[in-house]
Point group: D2
Chain length 248, copies 4
């Protein structure tokens, strides 16, 4: 087997967005899938392998710098000659939807850990690799994509902790876009505005249960691939995605 | 010849964005090209025809309701059975880059006419057609895309008139997205942030003349096609595009 | 009688914001009150005079350049030696709250005329006067304040025309702030987000009729005076105002 | 001596904004001044006392929940019968202006601790007190004001860590405004856009050293007092402040 020239990394691979993104990017690159639990990434690795792609799952806690270090050491051993073409940060902690006075400091910590700290560690690991790939003749500009949400733009009742994490995440992503764009790395943020159509969300109603009232994770994946393939003369920094019936 | 089932309309077809969009959409649909002067659209019609596509050029002043009416009457005669799949509003008046006290009322009028009034007329003509197409089994949700600019987000020194037109245009587009999205029509706005690589701009330096320091009109066209093909479960309302070296 | 050293102008004086602003600024300056109809400004002129202030009412159509010219000629005759300390643009046309396809071009024209064109004429008249006042030792930096609304930030269903006018207005105001701030003129925009407690609004319910659920015009006037008195080391460009119970 | 009916708390009292705010609010209320080091608040306590006001300084680390608890226990002992009229969160850690790849995780932690966590603890302590004051007949609506910055709106090169903290802070403040506004508590955020004229900044040039090119901390204090005195029919949620010559 020939060592791959380029590969991709997806953080936060479970039943929704991350899995769709991983499956789609696996059509172009070998992919490393990072998730806290093996049970999250194992079925995705299997599906990709069955479809003829290459995938490696790595149990990682993105909010723990050492765990992130270990994951990247593992990736380096896996594909020692290859360059990083695309990195997707899609980690999500469940969030604490509570009146402010009922939130515990831990609710804020968790939102910040997954929203901001994990991205910070991940970006510090991936940006040198992406910069290194810029000169290696990639088909598309090396890309870092971060999954955002409406709560990255708007603080709302019961969203104080979650919004704090997402605002901080958007701040970091925007700062990175301004710093690394001119060096040839494409940094993009997506505002996911609506419920996502995952097995988890199956029984939850969004938009009155209307067809396509939830966002298809495959459609999100398509948008990530589109972002990745943009030439450097026309980078999108921020893009919103919502179901046609979503109020906004 | 079989009458086409779906067609597209592009307003503002000259040497840059409009021409690229027209050529790309012509790979999927017959296209009507509207521009003030025949000399603007004629070469594009020729290029599309030569490539095996179908294009009709119509001299139109979008800031004149009667001229817009006439253009749509002509389109209806051209393809009486067909439905409108996509409409792109890309009209641009040259703009008056002057200190505020040197601007004439006509500078404001011109910016508003092209930016807001023309879009108003165009949207009032196209939205009923796009709504009508929703039920006709289109491959992609019927789409209205409007070409915006940085000046739609930010009023700057010497940009008072131009920004007034672009802000107003964004207001209309956003209002339409909120009203017609739930009816199945995708309404999107693009923030073009940078110089465009047109023959007109050939001798103008942007970003110090660095390669890819100007936006490729073909890359803009790709983004419009991507927007058009988004499924209704994941519509993008607003998307920015800028060269990797652009300061923002 | 000694000629006043400084005076103020308020455009759009009726029963609400404009009247409150005029009464408050009349405690510091002679004020010229511009409104379309004498019946709008006459009671305010009377109230100010009765309270010991000086007010001149001038019938003006701000969307008509000649009418604006005439009003400023009148003001120059009234106070030939005085400098302009503060100018407030508070003109408001009634607005067309209709589905987009029911709007007439005139609805857009009206929104643009009052929102953008009138401000354009007014600013072209007042900015030279405000610049002239900068060097004349005013107590507070010469100030131009424009009354905005939520629709200046957000295009919504049935607000396409009104939002186009308010977005355009905000674009102009922001451009002026960036151009004339460094020359010592304070240009500010207020986002009025809620129903205003006017005689006109008396029977309209806002926020379920709760006390203080509508914005007090006197509170708006206080904010305008506060903006006017800010020193040039700390100018506010934009400020929102809403009732405590308003959803936003 | 009669126990005060209402008091104020200012966090982050040193040589700049906090000291000016404390001195101004001390003209209306006894004030508790919280700062990490006694040397920061001691001169302010002395100045207020000399001017006839009442001030209590408390050494507090706002990023440490127990330290915050202790400070509030101390305040409760100091004025056991009084209600909280106004709370100002002005804590600022020095910030790490570095290329992203040179930032340490501690730089992010520090920005988040002061920007978001400290505000979280402070708000959880003050909001119940402010709610309790709503019904106690205060002259002005009980108020929580948070000092923000341009970096709360925009992530820039070398600002990734600092912006993350300020974005998160704005998210929390905005969420609190939406939750507690309808309960009668005024929650406001200020965008300080420019260098502040402090002894610390004396030798640093801003805006080419032009007079008033730095923001006067007393002018910031005036704006906080103005915010505090707004009636509940017209709350400002966000307000920017910048020197007249500042580019924005």
């Amino acid at each position: 087997m020939v060592a791959p020239t380029f590969y991709a990394i997806v953080v936060g691979v479970g039943s929704g967005t991350g899995a769709s993104v991983a499956r789609l990017f696996a059509q172009g690159y070998p992919v490393a899938l990072l998730a806290r639990k093996e049970s999250s990434y194992a079925p995705v690795v299997e599906a990709i392998t069955k479809a003829g792609g290459t995938a490696v799952g790595i149990s990682t806690d993105v909010s723990d710098a050492q765990s992130v270090d270990a994951a990247f050491a593992r990736i380096a051993r896996e594909w020692p000659q290859a360059k990083l073409a695309a990195a997707v940060y899609n980690a999500e902690a469940g969030f604490s939807y509570k009146p402010f006075l009922e939130l515990a400091p831990e609710d804020l910590d968790r939102a910040i850990s997954t929203g901001a700290k994990g991205l910070f560690y991940f970006a510090q690991k991936t940006l040198p690799l992406l910069l290194d790939a810029v000169g290696a003749g990639p088909k598309h500009p090396p890309t870092l994509i971060v999954t955002g949400a409406t709560a990255a733009l708007r603080g709302s009742v019961k969203f104080a902790a979650f919004a704090a994490g997402k605002f901080a995440q958007r701040a970091i992503t925007q700062s990175l876009a301004r710093e690394f764009g001119p060096q040839g790395v494409h940094v993009a943020y997506t505002i996911i505005d609506g419920g996502i159509d995952t097995p988890w969300g199956k029984d939850r109603e969004f938009n009155g249960g209307v067809a396509d009232g939830k966002i298809s994770p495959d459609a999100i994946a398509d948008s990530y691939w589109y972002l990745h393939t943009q030439p450097r003369s026309a980078f999108t920094q921020e893009l919103d995605l919502r179901p046609f019936v979503e109020k906004f």
